[in-house]
Amino acid sequence: MVNRELVTVAHYGWRDWLVQRVTAVVMLVYTLFLLAVIVSLPSLDYDHWRALWEFPVMRYAAIFFVVSVLLHAWIGVRNILMDYVKDAGLRLVLYVLVILALIAYGAWAWQILWGSY
């Protein structure tokens, strides 16, 4: 018999599995929400578009989406790098670059939604 309990001791697998699915559902729901909102606009011009984003619900919903994208992208890209980048040093460098890029995207999205655009 294989001792299945000792295959891994990292234990982040089940957590990542759950995060990947919860964030996926958030993104799917948000996509439908945004589509419905855009379709219901009287016309897609600057004034309507800009006024739409003044609603707090638009900004908070977008933050849910953005955070989901960042978490989901991290798990997905990390898995890809784990599979294809054999050299541990290079893999570490790529992990760091991906994390920094995702943090920067998060800050950028925040600035667009609440800053001065």
């Binding site: 699915r21 997905g76 890029a101």
Partner: protein, 124 residues
Amino acid sequence: MSTARPKFLNLFLIRQPVPAVVSVLHRASGAILFLFLWLFLIGLQRSLASPESFDELKALAGEPLVKLVMLGLLWAYLHHGFAGIRHLGLDLRWGIQLPGARASAWAVLVLSLGLTVVFGVLIW
């Protein structure tokens, strides 16, 4: 254990089953979306910054090359999304028998490509 088995690993010559094609494209489309995240953010930023930048963005979206990029990203979004829904279904043990899994894999391919083509016709 090392046995001298024959290896045949040219991915371009192996005929993959449809669920495998969907799986590979799920990964590829996810990587594409990650690599182009900055483009979505620039788009949102320019669309909100000012009436002028909104109009510039609209004019840019009329360029054939930009339309192709947009359609490529739309396909990646649709394929990743539909393959994701299929994945969630498999988690819930829906369609885990081979015929069902093949049918849902075909549905993902056809829906994402089909909707991309429909949208492409609409904007062209």
